[in-house]
C-alpha cells in the first residue's frame, strides 16, 4: 500500500506546530479521509470540523499545501505526494484547536444585512410569478455553502484585519442574492457603501478563484453592487440633480 506523509497543524500553548503523520493511501482518497485515518489510529484528539463529506455543507475548510480548500473535495491524486502534504487551519480566523477556527464573526456579520422583504404577492392566492431567466443569477449566489474560504483568502480581512469595516466576499454575495432577488423590495445600497465597506474591495479575484461552488463572486456579485453604489452616490448627473432638489 502506498504511504503518504502529512504535516498537520496541531495547536499547543505556544500557538501550534506541524506534526508529521504517515497515512495509508486508498484509491480515491481525499484529504479529509487522511485526517480521519490519523484521528482513528494515531491522534484521537485531533480536532477537525466536517459533516457531509460531499462538498455540500462547507464545514471542512482548511489550507492544504497553502491553498484554501475543502478537505472533502481535495483528492490526494491532485497533490504531489512525494513531498509531505501540509494541512493547516484557515488563517484569517482565530484558532480554536488544530484545524478548527472560530468563524463566529461571519454569523454576526450576517445579522447586519437587511433581511429579505418581498413585494406584495402577484396572484390572489398569495403567490408570486418569476421567470427562470430572472432567478438564474440569484440561484448562482444561493449555491454558497458558507465554507468561508473566500473570507479566508480576502486580503482585506486576512492581511489588513478590517473585519469591523468590511463584510467580505461571502456577505457581498449574500447581499447580491437579496438585492437581485426579483421579489425583494428592500434597499441595501446605502449600507453596502457605509457600514459594509464594499469600496475596500479592489477586485483581486482571489475569492472567486477559491470558491468550491464556482460562484463568479467578483464579476457577478461584487462588481454589479459596486456599480449600484457608484450610480447612486458618485454619478455626476445624479449628484447635480440632488443639489437642485435639496
Amino acid at each position: 500500500m502506498t504511504k503518504a506523509a502529512f504535516k498537520v497543524w496541531r495547536s499547543d500553548e505556544a500557538g501550534g506546530h506541524y506534526r508529521d503523520y504517515g497515512v495509508d493511501v486508498v484509491p480515491g482518497m481525499v484529504v479529509l479521509d487522511a485526517i480521519h485515518q490519523i484521528q482513528a489510529t494515531q491522534a484521537p484528539d485531533l480536532a477537525v470540523r466536517w459533516n457531509c463529506k460531499a462538498g455540500k455543507c462547507g464545514s471542512c475548510s482548511a489550507e492544504i499545501n497553502g491553498n484554501p480548500k475543502l478537505m472533502c473535495m481535495t483528492r490526494l491524486n491532485t497533490l504531489d505526494l512525494l513531498a509531505p502534504v501540509t494541512v493547516e487551519p484557515m488563517r484569517a480566523f482565530p484558532l480554536i484547536k488544530d484545524l478548527v477556527t472560530d468563524v463566529s464573526w461571519n454569523f454576526r456579520v450576517k445579522t447586519t444585512i437587511a433581511p429579505f422583504r418581498p413585494r406584495p404577492a402577484d396572484a390572489p392566492d398569495g403567490t408570486w410569478r418569476m421567470r427562470q431567466q430572472d432567478v438564474d443569477r440569484v440561484q448562482e449566489f444561493r449555491k454558497c455553502i458558507e465554507c468561508f474560504l473566500c473570507q479566508d483568502v480576502c486580503h482585506i480581512l486576512r492581511d489588513h484585519k478590517m473585519h469591523d469595516r468590511f463584510i467580505g466576499p461571502r456577505f457581498i454575495t449574500y447581499a447580491a442574492a437579496l438585492e437581485m432577488h426579483p421579489l425583494d423590495a428592500a434597499d441595501r445600497v446605502p449600507e453596502l457603501k457605509e457600514q459594509h465597506g464594499i469600496g475596500y474591495c479592489n477586485i483581486t479575484r482571489c475569492c472567486t478563484k477559491v470558491c468550491p461552488e464556482h460562484i463568479t463572486i467578483t464579476e457577478n456579485a461584487i462588481i454589479p453592487l459596486k456599480e449600484r453604489v457608484v450610480d447612486r452616490f458618485y454619478d455626476p448627473l445624479t449628484r447635480l440633480l440632488r443639489v437642485f432638489k435639496s
Binding site: 463529506k53 460531499a54 468563524v103 454569523f107 418581498p118
Partner: protein
C-alpha cells in the same frame, strides 16, 4: 462537582436541521423564549444533503395532483403501516409550507408561467417535488436559518446534549457540553423539541454525516419515551460505490427523475423485470413510455426506475447477487443516454443536476454527461423514531416533542423521496406551535441538579480510563461493520440474534473506551459519547426487526420474504423497562376513517 452555566427557555429545540429550525421559528412566532441547540455550526445540518426536492401537491405542473393523491402515495409507499393522521396532515399542509418558504426568500426553479417547478420522483404519481436543481436541502436550510437569525433566535452551536432531564414525569431540561471548550451547560425549558435527525452512522455504508448517531432517539428512550417502527431503515438505492473513499455518498433520485436509467453489466434495464402488483397499473412496460413520462407526457406511465426506494434497492441487490453487477459491486446509473433523445443533453444534465455533475467529476473522475455512474444501496434514513401524537408531535413523555427524522409515523415502512423535506416543514411547524402552547400552559418544572451531575460524571468517565483502553473509533467501526452485515438490507433470524449478542459485547467495550487529551474540541471524546446513542438505537433496530417476521418496505427478511396481513395491523414499539432492558411490544394501528380508506381505494386505479 463540575460547575455548569444554566440557561432558561420556554421552548428548547435540539437540532437545527430543517425540522428544528422550523420548530424554533414557529415557537418564536408564538411569543415564547426559544433556545436552539445544534451539534454542528448553524446551517451545516444533514438537511443540506437533501438534493431532489420537497414533495407538496401544489399541482403546478400536473393539475391532476391534490393532497388526496399525495396522501394515497405516501400510504402506499409506506405499505400502510404509516400513521394515517400524520400522512393526512402532511399531504394537506405541505403546499402551504412550501409557499411560505418562497415568502421567506427561497428561490425554487420555475415553470414556464413563472410558478414553482415540480419534478418526478419515486412513488409520487405526478411531478410533485419543488426543487432547486439538486441542492434543494441547502436552499431550505439557508432560508430557514436566515429567517430564524432575523427573528433573534438564541442559537448554541457545536453543542452536544448528553442527557435529557426528567422531573415529576415531565421533560425539564437537558445537560450537555459545548465542543469548543468542553464546558457543560444546563438548559431548562417548559417544553423540549427533539429534532436530531437520523442514525445512519450505525452502518458502515451510509450517506449520513458524523452527526447521525441517533441522539434524539436515544435521549428520548433513556428518558422513558417510546420508539416506534425502528426496524424500518431506508437503504437508498443509489449511493456512490467507487472509489472506496466515497462509498455511501448519495446520488440523488433526481437523476432518475430526469430520465436516468439503471443497467446491469449486460446493459439490461433490469427494473422492468420485477414491477410489484400495487404499482403495475401505473408503471410503464416499455422504454419509450418511461422516457415520455419523464419529459412530461401526461398520458405516459412512469418508468420502473421511479418505483419506491426499498424496491429499487432490492432489485439492485438481486442483480449484484446474481453476478450481473458492475465491476465494483453495484449497478450502472446512466443519465448520459438521454443524448439519444434530447438535443443539448449535456447542458441539460449540468443545469438539472449540477452538484451530481461536480460530485462525480471531482470525486470519481466520471463525467456523467458522457458515461454511466456506478451505484449501490447506502443507509440513508430511518423511518422509525420517537412515537408522537400525530397532531401535536408530543411524545409519550409530557413536554417532550419530536419532529423530522427522529420522529416516527409519517413514513410507515418506507419513505418516499421528497417526503422528508416536507415532513420537516409540516411537523417542525406543528412541534414548534404545540411546544409553545404547552409551555404557555405548563410552567417549567425545576430541573434536578443531581441528575445533571450524574450525567456529567458519566460523560467524563472516558478521561479517567488508562491509556491502552478501547479506542472509541475502533468500537464505532466494529459496530458499523456488524450492523451492516447482520441487520442490513437482507435480514434473517439467526443473524439478528447474533447481532443482539454482539451488541452486548460492543456495549461492554464502549464502556471501557478511554481517551487522551483534554476536553477542548476532542473528537475521541465526542465519539465515545455518541457510541452510547448508536448502541441504544442499534439495539432497538435489531430487536424490532426480530419481532417483525415478514418483509415490508425497508425491512426485508430472507426467512420471511413475503408481506403478512397479520403484520399490517400493528406497529412495533420499544421502551426502556424498569430494569433497564428493552421492552418490545406490538401496538395496533389507529383505525383509519372511512373517507381516507376510500381515497386510497380511488387512487389504486
Amino acid at each position: 462537582m463540575t460547575s455548569f452555566e444554566t440557561f432558561n427557555y420556554d421552548v428548547l429545540v435540539i437540532g437545527a436541521g430543517g425540522a428544528g429550525l422550523r420548530a424554533a421559528i414557529e415557537a418564536s412566532a408564538a411569543g415564547v423564549k426559544v433556545g436552539l441547540i445544534c451539534k454542528s455550526l448553524l446551517g451545516k445540518a444533514h438537511t443540506v444533503m437533501a438534493e431532489g426536492g420537497v414533495a407538496a401537491a401544489l399541482a403546478n405542473v400536473d393539475d391532476r395532483d391534490s393532497w388526496k393523491v399525495h396522501f394515497a402515495d405516501t400510504m402506499r409507499g409506506g405499505q400502510y403501516v404509516n400513521n394515517w393522521r400524520m400522512a393526512e396532515l402532511h399531504a394537506k399542509e405541505a403546499p402551504d409550507r412550501v409557499r411560505e418558504l418562497e415568502a421567506w426568500g427561497a428561490v425554487f426553479d420555475r415553470t414556464k408561467d413563472g410558478r414553482i417547478l415540480q419534478r418526478n420522483f419515486g412513488g409520487h404519481r405526478y411531478p410533485r417535488l419543488a426543487h432547486v436543481g439538486d441542492r434543494t436541502g441547502l436552499e431550505l436550510i439557508r432560508t430557514l436559518q436566515d429567517q430564524g437569525v432575523h427573528r433573534g433566535l438564541d442559537v448554541h452551536m457545536e453543542f452536544t446534549v448528553v442527557s435529557l432531564l426528567v422531573s415529576d414525569g415531565r421533560a425539564s431540561g437537558v445537560i450537555g457540553y459545548e465542543r469548543e471548550r468542553g464546558r457543560f451547560k444546563l438548559f431548562t425549558a417548559a417544553a423540549i423539541v427533539l429534532a436530531t435527525g437520523g442514525a445512519g452512522r450505525a452502518y458502515r455504508i451510509t450517506s449520513n454525516s458524523w452527526e447521525g448517531t441517533g441522539d434524539g432517539h436515544a435521549l428520548a428512550y433513556r428518558a422513558g419515551a417510546e420508539l416506534m417502527d425502528m426496524e424500518f431503515i431506508q437503504f437508498h438505492p443509489t449511493g456512490m460505490i467507487w472509489p472506496p473513499s466515497v462509498q455511501g455518498i448519495l446520488v440523488t433520485e433526481g437523476v432518475r427523475g430526469e430520465g436516468g436509467i439503471l443497467l446491469n453489466r449486460e446493459g439490461r434495464r433490469f427494473m422492468f423485470d420485477d414491477i410489484p402488483e400495487p404499482y403495475r397499473n401505473q408503471t410503464a412496460d416499455n422504454e419509450d413510455e418511461g422516457w415520455r413520462y419523464t419529459q412530461g407526457d401526461k398520458s405516459a406511465r412512469r418508468p420502473p426506475e421511479l418505483l419506491t426506494r426499498d424496491h429499487v434497492a432490492r432489485c439492485i441487490m438481486r442483480e449484484v447477487k446474481a453476478g450481473r453487477g458492475s465491476p465494483h459491486g453495484g449497478v450502472f446509473l446512466d443519465i448520459a443516454w438521454i443524448k439519444k433523445r434530447l438535443s443539448g443533453a449535456e447542458a441539460h444534465i449540468k443545469r438539472k443536476l449540477p452538484s451530481m455533475y461536480h460530485q462525480f467529476k471531482e470525486l470519481g473522475d466520471i463525467d456523467i454527461t458522457r458515461e454511466p455512474m456506478e451505484v449501490g444501496p447506502t443507509t440513508h434514513y430511518i423511518m422509525g423514531g420517537i412515537r408522537v401524537d400525530a397532531d401535536t408531535q408530543m411524545s409519550t413523555v409530557p413536554g417532550l416533542f419530536a419532529a423530522g427524522e427522529c420522529a416516527a409515523g409519517i413514513n410507515g415502512a418506507n419513505r418516499l423521496g421528497g417526503n422528508s423535506l416536507s415532513d420537516l416543514l409540516v411537523f417542525g411547524k406543528r412541534a414548534g406551535e404545540f411546544a409553545a402552547a404547552f409551555a404557555k400552559e405548563h410552567p417549567a418544572v425545576a430541573a434536578d441538579a443531581a441528575q445533571a451531575q450524574r450525567a456529567i460524571d458519566e460523560a467524563l468517565q472516558p478521561f479517567a480510563r488508562p491509556a491502552g483502553s478501547e479506542n472509541p473509533f475502533t468500537v464505532q467501526a466494529a459496530l458499523q461493520d456488524m450492523m451492516q452485515s447482520l441487520v442490513g438490507i437482507v435480514r434473517t433470524e439467526s443473524e439478528m440474534q447474533q447481532a443482539v449478542r454482539e451488541l452486548a459485547a460492543l456495549s461492554a467495550r464502549a464502556a471501557r473506551a478511554g481517551i487522551t487529551g483534554h476536553r477542548e474540541y476532542n473528537p475521541g471524546w465526542h465519539t465515545a459519547i455518541d457510541l452510547r446513542n448508536l448502541l441504544a438505537v442499534s439495539e432497538a433496530i435489531a430487536r424490532s426487526a426480530l419481532e417483525r417476521k415478514e418483509s415490508r418496505g425497508g425491512h426485508f427478511r430472507e426467512d420471511f420474504p413475503d408481506k403478512s396481513p397479520e403484520y399490517a395491523t400493528f406497529n412495533i414499539v420499544t421502551r426502556r423497562a424498569a430494569d433497564g432492558t428493552m421492552d418490545v411490544r406490538r401496538v395496533p394501528l389507529p383505525p383509519m376513517p372511512a373517507e381516507l380508506k376510500q381515497i386510497i381505494e380511488d387512487q389504486k386505479a
